[in-house]
Structure formats: C-alpha cells, structure tokens
C-alpha cells in the first residue's frame, strides 16, 4: 500500500501547477468485521476502502475535496486529476481565507508497526469455543493506513495492523461482564484467559441487582469508566479555539475559578498512542503535550488554523483540536487494594452516554453500565442496578478524588464511524470520596 501511496502522491505533484500547493491526505483500511449475538455470528462484512483528500492552495484561497479510490494507481490518478480540475474551477468563488497554515518545511517519516493479525477462522474459533454462552460482541481487524504528502515534497506514512475484539457475557440477569482485547499481535491464549475471567465473573452477577437511593456515595471508577469521563471532557475541553471562544466545558478552569485535584496530570501522548503523529496540514505532533498539570490547566491543543487566527505556534493538533492519545498519569493505589480502599460504596466498571447537565459548571451526567457493583467492607455484595450520576468534574475529580491506581489500562477506541478509529487512552482507576448519584433506572 505504501508503494501505491507514493506513486499517487508523485502523480499529484506532477499535475500541480507552479503557483499552487496541494496537500494530500490518505486514509485507507482493509477490514474484516464480525458481529456476534447469543454465541453465534450475526453479521460478517469485509470492507476495502481508500479515501484521498486534496487541499488546493492558491492565491490565499483554499478548497478541499475527498474522494474514494480503487487502489489502481493509473485509474485513481485520472480521478484525482478530474477532482483537482473541479477544485480549480471553483476556487474563484471561494473567499480569501486569512487563517490557513500548512507545514512549509519538507519533512518525511515512515512508521510501520509490526504485528500478526488472526485469520477470521481463528477469531471465530477463539470467540465461539465455549458453547452455550450468551455472548454478544464484535471483532474488527485488518491493516489501517494513513499518509500525508504535499507538492513541496513532504511524505509521511503510517501503517498499523490492528484488531479490536469487544464482547459481553450475559448470565441470568441483564447485567453483563464486559471484556475487550485490542492490539496488533493476536494471542489466542490471552483471548481465552479473558474469556475465562469473564465466565467466572458471571457467577457474581446472579444476586438481585442493588438499587441506590439518590445521594453521594464513595466510588471506584475502573479505568474504562474514567476514560469515558475524559472522553466527554475532550469535547472542546482541550482545544485553544474552544478556550478562547468560551465554548469549553472547562471554562471555570480557564478563568482560574476552579481546578482539579493535584493528582490529575493529563497528557496528549502521541509517542505511545496508536494514532499517527502527523496531521492533515503536514505538521508533526510532539511526543507529549501536558494538558492538565497537577490539577491546573496547562497547554491547549492548537491546530494550524487556530495558530494562525490567534497568533501562536501550532502543536500539530488535528482540525477539531481533539486528543487522540490521552494519557492520565498513575497514582499510588495498587489495583489489588482498590476494593479494600473503597470500603463501602460503588464499584463502576463502565460508564455510558455521558453529556453535560450544566456546561459552564462542567456538570456531567451519565449512567453505569455492565457489571458495576455495590461493595461493602471491600467485598462486592451485589451487582448494581443501572444508576445515573450527575455531578461536576470539579468536585469528583477535584476535592473528592482520593487516589489513582498505579496500574493503567490502554483503552483503544473501538468506534468505526466511516473508518476505524486509532484513538486511545491510557488511564488508571480512580477512588472517589464521593460521587453524586441521582437514581437507579427503575426508580427515577
């Protein structure tokens, strides 16, 4: 695929006029998708897709178009030439754009992650080996490619073989054991171990679910639950544009009126994430950007457009100034001691459907999902009825954040809207002195 990318990039360079600059962004994948329900295959789908985006810069104007390609360079170059012609013909109608910025330095990189993806038959054998289980889930696997080129000569390439298996086991109740396994090198033994752990966990879900009355409870958020919180905060929370236009959920931190606990240090860690380090305007992200430093807001993510508009340096953020490789620093609580440290309260394995109930106050709401538990004296005594929380991040990640775990989980985004995501977050678990829950699903 890299040879194809380089051939097409060279072809685009040849069709560009001397007073034009053209940026190319290439996103491709060869994906196998399997869906499971009740321990059987519900759907299977193979997708091969290649999308090429051309950004044409000329005379302080920019216009952009993306098109699906076939993978045959000669035919695809003809399609791109036609597309470039269409962009040129519309350019006169496009108003001048004062904020455009692209990387003028001619840089290059190539990163191809080594890995070993399973044959689909192997996936089916591993997932469906235990008969009689109510298993529901999905597998997505195959190589993902990203490329950047410009007509100044820059070339960046990233290829990663990736799989993401996510599944739930259901027993007698509507509460499930949720598991996931993602990476670039498939290990059947790991799948079986995770499956076995989930199977054993099912027994703990047979007790009648416990309902909470509204109020504040001690809580432990597993890394997967904490990652949901930071995913919600990332909606405009960390970008320069949202900061300066007062459309950030972290408005009170920006104003200096609020902070999070000193335990919270959050980075955009491009070096250790799965996403490519370059972006659509050709800028390369630094290894790490500290977004929150010991509870205080630190550097924002700055896209090239924001950099130009607000007169600062870009740090290679994507256009939406969204993080792609969040990394929350660990604490000093050992995972094995988390239940004892919780004592009596709520163990939240997953959160779901987060949104803001008061944006300016950074007040979030959402629900527990999958196997969350009511814990007494450090022991899980009953699964938790689906329960809604409604609280400000300044409180539960501020004065009420008691500890973070030493161990962290790498949570790979399994979303595939349009294309498979390469975003991820490395998160510890969080022990909270209090979190405000409003009601269980059956009692609100």
């Amino acid at each position: 695929m890299k040879d194809y990318f380089l051939e097409v990039a060279a072809g685009v360079e040849q069709m560009t006029r001397s007073d034009e600059v053209v940026l190319s962004w290439f996103a491709a994948e060869e994906s196998d998708f399997l869906r499971f329900n009740v321990g059987a295959v519900r759907q299977s789908l193979a997708v091969r897709q290649l999308v090429w985006t051309l950004s044409l810069f000329h005379d302080r104007r920019r216009t952009e178009a993306s098109v699906t390609l076939t993978g045959h360079a000669r035919a695809d170059l003809a399609a791109l030439e036609a597309l470039l012609g269409r962009l040129r013909s519309g350019l006169a109608d496009v108003p001048e754009e004062p904020h455009f910025l692209y990387e003028h330095r001619v840089t290059s990189s190539s990163q191809e992650t080594e890995g070993s993806l399973p044959e689909l038959g192997e996936v089916l054998d591993a997932v469906l080996s235990s008969k009689g289980l109510d298993l529901v889930g999905a597998y997505a696997g195959g190589p993902i490619y990203r490329g950047f080129a410009n007509t100044l000569g820059a070339r960046h390439w990233r290829a990663v073989p990736a799989f993401n298996l996510s599944w739930c086991l259901y027993g007698e109740t509507p509460v499930a054991m949720k598991s996931s396994y993602a990476g670039s090198t498939w290990n059947r033994g790991l799948v079986e171990a995770k499956m076995g752990f989930a199977r054993e966990g099912l027994a703990s879900l047979n007790e009648p679910p416990r309902q909470l009355t509204p109020g504040n409870y001690r809580a432990f958020l597993a890394p997967e639950a904490l990652a949901e919180i930071f995913a919600a905060l990332a909606w405009g929370g960390f970008g320069l544009e949202s900061r300066l236009s007062k459309r950030s959920a972290l408005l009170r931190m920006i104003e200096g009126d609020a902070s999070l606990s000193r335990l919270v240090t959050l980075k955009e860690n491009a070096r250790d994430g799965l996403a490519c380090a370059f972006q659509r305007e050709g800028f390369v992200r630094p290894d790490a950007i500290t977004l929150i430093d010991a509870g205080q807001l630190a550097a924002p993510l700055v896209s090239p457009r924001s950099a130009q508009e607000f007169g600062v340096e870009t740090n290679g953020a994507n256009r939406d100034e969204l993080p792609e490789a969040l990394d929350l620093e660990p604490g000093d609580l050992a995972e094995r001691d988390a239940m004892a440290a919780l004592g009596t309260g709520v163990y939240v394995s997953n959160l779901w459907y987060l949104n803001y109930s008061d944006f300016s106050a950074c007040r979030l709401t959402g629900l527990t999902r999958f196997a969350s538990f009511w814990v007494e004296n450090g022991r899980a005594v009953a699964p938790l009825e689906v329960t809604r929380f409604d609280d400000t991040a300044y409180r539960f990640l501020g004065e009420n954040l008691e500890a973070l775990t030493i161990e962290r989980h790498l949570i790979v985004d399994d979303s595939a809207y349009g294309e498979r995501s390469t975003s991820s977050m490395r998160a510890p678990g969080a022990l909270l002195r209090a979190m405000s829950f409003t009601a269980s699903a059956r009692s609100s």
């Binding site: 059987a40 519900r42 299977s44 789908l45 076939t70 108003p95 509507p174 987060l354 629900l367």
Partner: protein
C-alpha cells in the same frame, strides 16, 4: 428506466453484476454514491469548502443459509468479481456458526424509483452566493460585546443508490438533503450560554434551496444572538415536579431516544447489547402494551416527501410504507429489517433496514418517526398549566442502555405561572423514565405548533454507522415531570 444513476454506470453495473453473481441462494449488489458539500463561516471568517465524494458497492450473498457481505470502491468487472468472491468467503466462514438461517428470511424483491422533490437545486446556486448567505446571517450576530462566538454553516448532499438482486429486483433512489445551522455564544462573568438554530439534531430535510426559506435564515442572526444574551441574565430553571411543555426541537430527541431506539427490533433481540444497547421492550408487548397516554400517536412515515429519511424502499428493497407505530398509546409495531422480522415472526414490523453508505450493511434503524398532531393550540397548552416550564432546543441528552432512564437538557426555558408565560430561565433540564413519561402526555399541540425536523447523525451498529433520521412533532404537554436547572450562578 435509469435516470438517477448515470445511464452508462447503471448499465455497466447491472450487466457486470449479472455476469459475476455467484449461483447461490441470494445475491444482491447495492451501489451508493454521495456527493456532499459543507460551507461555514465562523466569527466572520470563511472556512474552506469541504467536498466529499464517496462511491462504492456492497455485494451480499447467502450460501447454505449463511450471509456474507463485502464492500469496496473498485467497481471494475475484476473488482466486483473479487467482491463477490470475498462475500462468498465470508459466508462460508460463518456457515454453521450463524445466528440466523437466512434461508428462512424472505428478502424483498421490488423494483422502482424514488427521488427527493427539489423545487430549486442547491447546485443552481453558486458557491459565492451560498457563502454570501452565510456571511449575511453571521454578520447579524455580533450585536453586543458579550457575543463571543458565532458561526453559520450549510451542508448539502446528493446521494444516489442502485440496488440489484441476481433474480431481477432493481431499485434506484436519489436523495437530496440540506442542513443549515447557526450558533451564537454569549459570555459574561465566567458563564457561557449558547443558542442554536438547525444543525446536529434539529433542522434537516430533503429538498433544495427552498428549504432555507422554511429555516427563516434571513432573520435568524439577530434573534438568536438576542436570545443568547437573554439567557446570560436569566435565572436558573426552577427545580421540582411540575408540568412541562416541550417544543418540536426538543420533542424530536425525546421521540428519537425513548421511542425510536427502544423499538428497533435488533436491540429488542439483543444484537446491540455490546455497543448501542438493548431495549426494555419485549416482543410480547406489541399489540397490547400501553406505551403512553391515549393521546400518543406515533407513525413511521417514509412518504413525507420533505423529511430527512424519506424513501421509496428501505436498503433491503422493502417498500417504505407509512405505518402506525403507537396508536392511542398502544404499541403496534417495531422498526426493523427482514432478517430481524424473520427471527420473531409474530411481531408486526415497519421496514427500516438502512445503511448510511456503501461500506456498512443495512441494519434496523429509525427512519422518519413522527408524533401526530393533536387539538391544543400553544396558548391552550400553556393556559392549562398552573406551574410549569416550556423548554426548547435540545442541548444535552443521556439515556440508559435499555432506553428507560433519561435526562435531557435544553438551551431555552420559560416559566409558566397560572396559565401565563413568565420569565426566561437558563439551563433547563428534566429527567424521567420512558413509559411513565409518555403516559404523562396530557395534551398534544395542533398543526400550528407542528414542525418537521430530524436527527442527522444517529449512531449505532458494529461496525458503527451514522445515519440521518427524520422527526416531526407538535409541541406537547407532560404532567408532573421532574424538572431541574443548572448550578451556574
């Protein structure tokens, strides 16, 4: 027959498909091409136009009862032949391990054409004129130094789909969609308030430039900015149990999240339990369960020509027909595909197998799901309330994975006291459970309160697929709802 898909392309696809379709129990090809354009102006400055052209095909086969699908943009004879081979390979891999024996699924075999009704094509308006309109709307917004952010955008799309089965079905459909959006943010004393019109979960339709007239674009900048400023100085919405009037731009999310998703048959059958969630609804409820008050009448209506998800057929080729989903409060039909229907033969189902593009399989989706008009004028809705709130324009939505426990927030609220509209309130929200909430529906607005809207980015499925849905509703009154306001001072 063809005049929607390019004639040469149509003939090539048909003849190639017929020549490469394997001799299996079922084989279909779904070709999908979409060309869209997004223009925006932010704080008076244009963003470059973003054009997207996506084109490809999916071949679906059933081999000894197992279904396999494969999709690609390579539409050459060799490419389609490879696609058929891949689909067969997928089916053979899952044979014997499939949840559904597709030999018992009756796949539709329809033929015909559908096209959105367009009075004036968006392509007839130059790029410069479209930018001019956006600049004009945006220029009316900064009426006060406290207006700190404003932007207007326009998304238009033309999508063409051709569907063939090896045994002769042939459907062509063309969809012209349009979605304008305006957003204004006011800020003072550490607090922001945003007011929007259109966009992510509101004003989106099929049609052409004429749709912008219904959007009242010319007047929007000033009124939207004025409302954002009003919210800055407003008190928080009161908290407590009270009556609630929801305007159509909030009703749409209430319908979408707590009726539409709850009635998708694949959720009811558990397919979505790993991702998008399940449903509290069970197959035995259809035909007898009181989902809401007797005033609740909900219809699946793909025939409403201006609505976002109107079509002639669903993406498996089943005729798209207007059908009652809830009548007089009683649950009548689920929303779903032929495959789901075959799994629970006793459940009546409106055909809504839908895919957003060529690279995702059709699954059970919401189409156009509308709440039928009632008899109350807006004045009567308000006049009947001693203590309550009117809320409009969704800003926050959250619901549990069985579509039961929900909490929604709105941009704009106004107190009702002794049958009269009172002060504006900020950060209005309410929470409840789906069935008790719909059973508390105590009055339904008349045609004057009715608006055609939609949810253009509904997410679901594994692999995830984002698709547009239509929702039309009058204003509605609910009694005894748990209402709350924000924490902001």
């Amino acid at each position: 027959m063809s005049n929607l898909v390019d004639v040469t392309m149509h003939e090539t696809l048909r003849s190639t498909f017929r020549s490469i379709a394997p001799a299996v129990e079922f084989c279909s090809l779904r070709y999908y091409e979409e060309s869209s354009e997004r223009l925006s102006v932010r704080r008076g400055t244009v963003s470059p136009p973003e054009l997207t052209v996506s084109c490809g095909a999916m071949i679906t086969v059933v081999v000894q009862g197992a279904m396999g699908c494969a999709a690609s943009s390579d539409l050459s004879p060799a490419g389609l032949s490879e696609l058929a081979r891949k689909a067969q390979h997928q089916a053979e891999l899952v044979r014997g391990r499939a949840l559904v024996d597709h030999r018992v699924v009756s796949m539709p075999r329809s033929s015909g054409q559908y096209a959105s009704r367009v009075a004036r094509s968006t392509r007839s308006v130059s790029l410069g004129a479209k930018y001019g309109l956006l600049r004009e709307i945006a220029a009316a917004c900064p009426i006060d130094p406290r207006i700190v952010d404003w932007g207007a955008s326009l998304w238009t799309s033309t999508a063409t789909q051709a569907y063939f089965t090896a045994d002769g079905a042939e459907i062509e459909q063309q969809f012209h969609r349009i979605m304008p959006r305006l957003s204004v943010t006011a800020y003072a004393d550490g607090e922001s308030q945003t007011r929007t019109r259109g966009g992510d979960s509101r004003f989106c339709r099929q049609g052409g430039v004429e749709v912008l007239e219904a959007f009242h674009a010319a007047e929007l900048g000033l009124t939207t900015a004025d409302e954002a400023l009003s919210l800055l100085g407003a008190p928080n919405c009161p908290t407590g149990e009270m009556d609630l009037v929801l305007m159509p731009d909030q009703m749409l999310i209430q319908i979408h999240e707590s009726i539409g998703h709850a009635l998708e048959l694949d959720r009811i059958l558990g397919d979505e339990r790993n991702f998008a969630g399940r449903s509290f609804v069970t197959p035995d409820m259809f035909g007898s369960f009181a989902f809401g008050s007797p005033l609740l009448n909900v219809t699946h209506d793909p025939s409403r020509i201006d609505q976002f998800a109107s079509s002639g057929w669903d993406d498996e080729g089943a005729p798209a027909v207007r059908e009652a989903i809830i009548s007089g409060g009683i649950l009548q039909r689920a929303l779903g595909s032929a495959v789901s229907r075959a799994r629970v033969p006793g459940v009546p189902v409106a055909a809504t197998a839908r895919a957003p593009s060529w690279n995702r399989s059709p699954i059970d989706r919401i189409g156009n799901l509308n709440l039928e008009v009632g008899a109350s004028s807006f004045e009567q809705l308000v006049g009947s309330i001693e203590r309550g709130v009117v809320m409009s324009t969704n800003s926050s939505w959250s619901i549990d994975d069985s579509r039961n426990n929900f909490q929604f927030g709105c941009e704009w609220g106004r107190v009702i006291r002794d049958g009269r509209l009172g002060e504006i309130v900020k950060n209005p929200g309410y929470r409840g459970r789906t069935v008790p909430f719909w059973r508390s529906l105590s009055a339904v607005g008349d045609a004057a309160t009715f608006e055609v809207m939609g949810a253009p980015a509904c997410g679901k499925g594994e692999p995830a697929a984002r698709i547009g849905c239509g929702h039309a509703s009058p204003a509605c009154k609910f009694s005894g709802v748990s209402v709350f306001g924000g924490l902001s001072s």
